[in-house]
């Protein structure tokens, strides 16, 4: 099974450090736990949908004792023509309640590299990185490694409505003005997790050109979630739109709602994600259109009943 995840390349370079365990997802996880026990930092690479078979292994053999295993869950989100059995729809919602886990989803190849680099730094514990099938979005995936602060999101790139630098760091946006502070106040914040952030970025650019005040955050981490961002948008924005390529129950949208409820904040929250039924086969473009996660649908959801 090395070829599907492109581990055949690594197998050639480092034959002694690459283990093909066959079709045995539970074993892959528990075996990784054993390696970690002896001080190794295994990267355990499984298709997201197949990792469902290893759910208990992740809890019992890795998370419980904080074994430093990095899970690289391939084919997260809708995979396309392999259909209902193969969509990586449940990983975010299924893994979020498990203590000790860090759960990350990169927006693009550079982020993926930074996350993989970050995940193997000392003391990081069990670390899940889930990423989609297919090709990346960047012209050149190469970049120097950078450590990403765990649990910190970012202003999505090239999405500054105002210019300037955010107190949230890293971006090129002013701190959001207070609600109702007049002209230029950000009314809508879109929080995305994973590769759909690229679609959101495009939509947000269009909306800004149309004069709408929209902020866009790439959350990067589902767990721990960036509460600074949630606090800021919860106290500043009238509407929050969450966008993720996992099931709508239990993922990013749910986490945002929980935060708002727990902190007595009452923005309007619109959640976009995969529906509560099994999505069949088709090309990814067709399917994301079908489930209302393509650019027009996301745009529609952001501006619908616009403030």
């Amino acid at each position: 099974m090395a070829t599907g995840c492109s581990l055949n390349i690594m197998m050639k370079e480092m034959p002694e450090r690459t283990f093909d365990v066959g079709i045995a997802e539970g074993h892959a996880v528990t075996f990784s736990g054993g390696l970690a026990k002896e001080g190794m930092i295994p990267f355990c690479n499984i298709y997201s949908s197949f990792a469902q078979r290893a759910f208990d292994n992740i809890i019992h053999d890795v998370a419980l004792c904080k074994q430093h295993v990095v899970f690289c869950l391939d084919r997260a989100g809708l995979v396309g023509q392999d259909g209902a059995t193969h969509h990586g729809a449940f990983d975010l919602a299924a893994l979020r309640p498990i203590p000790n886990l860090t759960i990350a989803s990169p927006m693009d190849e550079h982020e993926l590299r930074h996350m993989m680099y970050t995940a193997q730094l000392p003391g990081k514990g069990p670390f899940v990185i889930r990423y989609p099938r297919g090709r990346g979005v960047l012209a050149d995936w190469r970049c120097p490694f950078e450590e990403i602060p765990v649990g910190k999101g970012r202003i999505a790139p090239s999405c500054s409505p105002f210019g300037g630098v955010s107190k949230l760091g890293g971006g090129d946006i002013e701190a959001l003005p207070q609600r109702g502070s007049g002209e230029g106040a950000v009314l809508i914040a879109v929080l995305s997790l994973g590769p759909l952030g690229n679609v959101v970025a495009k939509v947000v650019r269009e909306l800004r050109e149309e004069g709408l005040s929209v902020a866009h955050y790439d959350m990067r981490f589902l767990k721990p979630i960036d509460e600074d961002i949630l606090h800021e948008v919860g106290t500043t924005c009238r509407r929050i739109v969450t966008v993720e390529d996992g099931v709508i129950q239990g993922g990013l949208g749910s986490a945002v709602l929980e935060y708002m409820a727990d902190h007595n904040l009452h923005p309007e929250v619109i959640r976009l994600g995969l529906p509560d039924h099994f999505v069949e086969h088709g090309t990814p473009d067709e399917l994301y259109h079908l489930v209302g996660l393509d650019a027009p649908a996301i745009k529609q959801a952001i501006v619908h009943s616009s403030l």
């Binding site: 074993h27 736990g33 054993g34």
Partner: protein, 322 residues
Amino acid sequence: MLSDIKLPADLRALPIEALPQVCSELRQEIIREMANNPGHFASSLGVVELTVALHYVFNTPHDRIVWDVGHQAAGHKILTGRRDAFPTYRHLGGLRPFPSPDESEYDTFACGHASNSISAALGMAVANELKVKVLKGENVKDERKVVAVIGDGSMSGGLAFEGLNNASSTPNNLLIILNDNNMSIDRSVGGMKHYLHQLHTSSLYNKVRFRLANGLVRLGMLSDNRRQKILRFNNSLKSLLVGQQNIFEGLNIRYFGPVDGHNVIELVNTLRQIKDMKGPKLLHLHTVKGKGFKAAEKNPTVFHAPGKYDPETGKRLEDIQN
């Protein structure tokens, strides 16, 4: 004697003749303690000799013992520095119900759910192989032995087979101990149970082959490398003789046994003979769940977790109240 064993190192300082006495005292201690402080009882009695033999032969905690499920680990806890704390077993803030790396360095891996021991121990064994390779043998003193202890009840779990399958294809020196009492909580069911029973019938062959091979190695006539090569031929020969394939040897895991799991001297001797052998291997033990406590031997399902009972008569409080 038990009171002198603070840690397994104290146990290892004893002569082998003392071990039956240690086992007897350990068994009585478990019976006495668990009479008033209910827990997983019968499983722990079944592995008293194995527990003592493992800590006697292996250099724990440097060597790793990975218990499967872990409800059989009462004796293990008592021998590894937790005897005084044992009355707190399973109580809030007290000793945990299963082995836990957060509790003791002698507890190597998360325990509680069945069938994970082979996979976890294989990970440790492979990691150690890797370290030896990376260090190019300069630090061989540090080589760890890794032992997985799995019951026949857990052997029916798919994860155990995934582990076995992988053990045969990745370089490692893992020792798997199959604690076969024909029970899980209830009696074991399914094809594996029948299969393990049939394996017993070929025990004479296994004994002869094991002794022959050991003799040849001692005489310098058989290197470990050559033995590996002979193994495949041997497997075919054996299949021919007994009219069946040994599933473990079919997976290139060397099979030893079955051995009486309640004869601690024989266990120690067998473990000493096989522990330094290269490659993955499995030792098949025959044990009795609830061994040494008549009521539990007679009714191992009830005594899996019997609640409170009279340590003399074996009467359960629950039965008396009814």
